[in-house]
């Protein structure tokens, strides 16, 4: 990273030097520089590639605890950008090792398309995935029924959520397969 940034740092530094000398230095080719960022950019450029200390830090004293399965209302921050999802509500569960969060709503660029976005984290594997699943022309989706509470911390990750379309129809999101189908047990939507 920052292959060109070293030049920008140099530019920022020079502007700082010039300003300090009462200069008003202007870069050739009309490339001016972010003088106010100079100190911070220089700091980045000065970071070494090795640590001066070889003493290991202590490992965490405890493992993460489960998060009971719960609905997420409109007041809870959404990590998904509005350009991807116009969110209605969400649902979350974690068994302490893997976390699953589902956000339901409509596609950011087309409110007629129902969409869910699934965020999955596996701490042990160091993996995080984000997956958008479209339900077709259903209008926005709302999660209306889901496993809740501590009893569902482990089992819910392969369970299912019930979704309501804008037109009042009901769909099922199978968390194991990531497929949306019409109820009851209908064929997957196109």
């Amino acid at each position: 990273m920052f292959r060109l940034l070293s030049v920008r740092v140099a530019a920022a530094t020079l502007v700082g030097v010039a300003a300090g000398a009462g200069g008003g230095f202007a870069l050739a080719g009309s490339i001016s520089s972010p003088a106010e960022k100079a100190a911070a950019l220089n700091r980045l450029a000065a970071v070494a590639a090795t640590d001066s200390s070889t003493v290991p830090a202590p490992a965490p004293a405890s493992a993460p605890q489960p998060i009971p399965a719960q609905m997420l209302g409109a007041d809870v921050p959404v990590p998904i950008a509005p350009s991807i999802l116009r969110e209605r509500n969400g649902w979350l569960v974690s068994d302490g090792k893997t976390l699953l969060a589902v956000y339901a709503g409509a596609a950011g660029n087309d409110p007629s398309v129902g969409r869910v976005v699934i965020v999955s984290q596996n701490v042990a594997a160091g993996k995080q995935t984000v997956r958008a699943i479209d339900a077709g022309s259903t209008g926005e989706l709302t999660i209306t029924a889901a496993p809740l509470g501590r009893a569902a911390e482990a089992s819910a990750q392969t369970g299912s959520l019930r979704l309501r379309t804008a037109g009042g129809h009901f769909l099922t999101l199978d968390l194991g397969t990531g497929r949306i189908s019409r109820e009851p047990h209908g064929a997957p939507l196109p």
């Binding site: 292959r3 030049v7 520089s33 970071v47 493992a63 809870v76 991807i84 976005v117 984000v130």
Partner: protein, 299 residues
Amino acid sequence: MRLLACTLTLATGLAWSATVASATQPVTAWYMYGSSGSDLKSYAYAHGCDFAQAEPGTGMRVLLLDFGAARKLDSSTWGAVDFSNTRFSNADILSALERAADGYHNCHVRGSVDIAYGNSNYHLSGSGMSSTDAWWAGFHQSERSEDLADYQSSKGYTSQTSDAASDMEPSWESPSVTKQLVSGDQAQGWALYYDFGSADGCPQSGNADGACNNGWHVSDVGYVSYAALALPLPEIYYTANANQWTVVRKWWNANAQGTYFFLGVTASTGVGLTPTASWAALNSLNNGLVESELACFGC
């Protein structure tokens, strides 16, 4: 001074002639969830270690930890509400950031890291925060980033530094309140403020100060992404996003001071463009003005 000018001209020319830049491999950025401060620390340690083990190349990369929406927790306490609806004070978040630094140190293989305290502008005023509160949120965010740098230095973690970041989305909050995050950060003075948000609703062509979502204008996006200590690391999920950010860059260069450049791109998997395609989409419209950072939620 003339020598300096000549040197700089040469360096700049070389850099701009070598604009066949390409994105490096993506590095994982994390949404932070946790039901307690202890959980947050455990996750952060794991993310720091995982990041170090997977870090490609020998350069510096940004470890972006998104702690959720900036919040004022009580009359004198700032922090964030995370994506599991748990409220964490900045003291909790700093502890987690320190554990991320520990994890990176313990698992360090190559290169260096800039650990960024990320938050968002999600419904700041809706949670009762005023513009002044938002200013203090930015101020304290930068302050905690500096605290993290002090910790890194005290521990001999010389391959690390720290900064701040925010997912500033026009749809989530007004421009006047959101700008205060950047202004507060600037007032504190330590942290670069990486904008990993969007230019939602902004025009996709031209360089005018057109309207964006929620009362924002192109100039507002320009401010939160490049004024003061801000640097853009924009979300590019679709080609439309690359078009919008190009308009922001062109507006800035036509109307404000300094040549706007991008630190890189924030991308995702599972929707729209692949991470590499995201970076390429922005770079194709801003050749030579896109650094190679590629932070990815979902990689």
